[in-house]
């Protein structure tokens, strides 16, 4: 058993657990975005950062990937942590304002504005869809390509994947939008499953004021035909 302290509270957990899991065990809330139980932790969204160490050796690490260590002192809501979380949420709102998950997180932290140039992206590159497809569905139809600001998620060569089984799991886990497909040409779609799923945007008749950031989108194209 490994003994550590979270916010001053001693906790004893099994070796191999992460700090996030230990905090959950104690009931201490830590916000996450790219984490999902059952999938390997990735550490991409940085929302789950906590402060460890003392004085000038103190640093922020993502709790979802950091293994528990004997004698570790963790602070889940120090000034540094809160400052980082708030800026991260501002950046998220600046990129992906229409995601309900992100809106809820921002509201929970009292963030009401963002000061950057507004973008309307439908992907925050959290990688949940990639890991879902690879680890749960054992398919590997979608993945990351390129790097830095050009990084994106899609199929190899941007054509329909031969190994995609149309399960829709990628759409199911996506926190940014509930639509994983980013193509507007049906023949280039990752799969055609959106035609079968009940998505809010597919029922636009009752939602006149809803903002659709993909115009046209495959769901619309397919339902037209």
């Amino acid at each position: 058993m490994i003994n550590l302290r979270i916010n001053g509270i001693p906790v004893s957990v099994e070796e191999g657990m992460t700090v996030l899991e230990a905090a959950k065990f104690l009931g201490i809330p830590i916000p996450t975005l790219c984490h999902k139980e059952g999938l390997s932790p990735y550490g991409a969204c940085r929302l789950c950062v906590v402060e460890i160490g003392e004085r000038d050796k103190a640093e922020l690490v993502s709790s979802c990937t950091y293994p528990v260590q004997e004698g570790l002192a963790v602070r889940t809501a120090s000034t540094r942590v809160l400052r980082a979380r708030r800026m991260i949420l501002e950046l998220l709102l600046a990129s992906c304002p229409q995601s309900k998950t992100i809106q809820d997180l921002a509201a929970a932290h009292g963030i009401r504005r963002q000061r950057f140039k507004q973008e309307y992206e439908d992907c925050i590159l959290c990688g949940l869809c990639v890991r879902m497809c690879s680890e749960q569905m054992q398919a590997g139809a979608i993945g990351f390509r390129s790097r830095g600001e050009s990084r994106s998620i899609g199929t190899p060569f941007d054509v329909q994947s031969e190994v995609c089984r149309l399960c829709g799991a990628c759409m199911y886990v996506c926190p940014a939008c509930s639509l994983r497909c980013t193509y507007n040409e049906p023949e280039k779609a990752i799969c055609g499953a959106c035609a079968n799923l009940q998505l809010p945007c597919a029922e636009r008749n009752g939602h006149d004021d809803m903002m659709c950031y993909m115009d046209p989108c495959v769901a619309c194209e397919i339902s037209k035909s």
Partner: protein
Amino acid sequence: MQRLESVASLESLREPLVAQRRAERPTIVIPAGTCGRASGAERLIDAAKDALGAGRQNVRLRVTGCHGFCQMEPSVLVEPSRTFYPNVAPEDMRRIVAAAERGETLDDLLFQDPDTGRAVRCQDDLPFYAKQVRTLLSWNEQVDPTDIETYIGVGGYGGLAKVLRRGDPSWILEKIKSSGLRGRGGAGFPTGIKWELLAAQPNGRGKFVVCNADEGDPGAYMDRSLLEGNPHAVIEGMLIGACATAATEGIVYVRNEYPLAIEHLGIALKQAREAGLLGEEILGTEFSFNIVMVRGAGAFVCGEETALIRSIEGMPPEPRQRPPFPIQKGINGKPTGINNVETWANVPVIVEKGVRAFANVGTKKSPGTKIFSLVGKIKRTGLVEVPMGMTIAELIHDIGGGAVNGGTVKAVQTGGPSGGCIPAGFFHLPIDYDSLSEAGSIMGSGGLIVMDDRTCMVDVAKYFMRFLKDESCGKCFTCRKGTQRMYELLDDISAGRGDLEKLDLLRELALTVQDASMCGLGQTAANPVLSTLHYFHEEYVEHIENKRCPAGCCKPLITFSINENCKGCGACARACPEQAVSGRKGERHTIDPAKCIKCGACRNACKFDAVDVT
């Protein structure tokens, strides 16, 4: 090259080679690293071979790697007199060879010191070289990197022989630890301790030692010249490291943008294998070790340890969190020790010449020498090797000769995209790991970019953010989006679209990127922004409040014009790619602002300081 079956046979091979060198026959040494070739060294080599072919058996030719004074290339060094001829034309080669044979000097071809107006004959007396301590770079003058025998002839692989004769890994570890050698890649971690940790890892499953030759910092090319000029030093260093730590495999990860280094390393590895210095039962002992070269493919992030490991493993090089550390779990889960090229090259020196020879120079906490690339707006530019602890001022003024074109040195940028700018007011600081990080920068791999009053610090920060947002692996949200948004804000400021709130936002964002990113790239990405904001705040404010770029750099805020110094020579008009300059001969010219693309070609062409940038 015959296979050497024992340490004794290495020594018997060495003896006549050393004697040959001692005979001190006149030798024409031509530095032909990448810079040298870019300046035309190959034509010089051909001319030398021509001249020597005409029956001059007494004079020899040695083609080597970089000597460091790149702007003087193609140059010639004559041994043993150490006469230095800069910017040599192929037509002069016959004369040089003839003079070398007679032991004479050609005064008209010598280096003319612009400060004293006098000629300087001996390379070691040149102001550029005088204060250097060339522990490593001197080998670049002695060794032909494509011929292992030249390395052996100057004592090469003597350290390995010593180590194999003793057969005691703890002896090597003690030596490296007591030398105080610190990692030359930038972090400055004590090498002896790293090796000790690696040695302590369990054996039997395989263990790696890696040479990180990715050298991603733009403006730094020390590792390139070491690998091109003396690859055997790195090979020997890794062999000694493997003996000390029980490593079973070695990898050199070379940057793809260094084709000559790749070629020379390949030749060196082949020759070392043929000689039995790499492979099974090295020099007849039980020690077996091989080194494999892996080419990088153009990604700055691969300089980071965990990304480097993933790159070698054939995965997309996204860094991963530590713990576990590479020493415990590295390539394919095996213990892995990674060191920089310059670190490895220092190892044979310490083992063969002794701890004192290495640690006599430098400071107590940062012993030894460091190679720097002194580049940018400096008069004498190139590679220099100096003792740790030399002040920035000494380096810039005594060795570098101060600013170019009569400007004033404003700042020096160290540590590449992970580092910061140190303003001129702090040039009294010594160059060592701790002083530079206290000043808000880092030592980094050794790039020293000198900036003058025509360098805009806002533009410098923007430049580094443009670099980082492209090189970031993109996994961490704070690094990917943070570098992108910092670039956006800096672009706004440099184009006159900034306000003071944006400046505060920039600082806040920079601190978050520094705090919350996972790997070294993200954690240091904010340094260029934070250090320029700290030391050059007025320049930022000038861009914001007065929409003015004091350095005359940011295009949307500047105008080119011609002042009364103009003699009407027309050089600017001829240089202008847009025909934006007009005027009659002998009369003051004018620039048409509608056509002007602000490329600066006119200013470069003008000899009378008649082009203003406001």
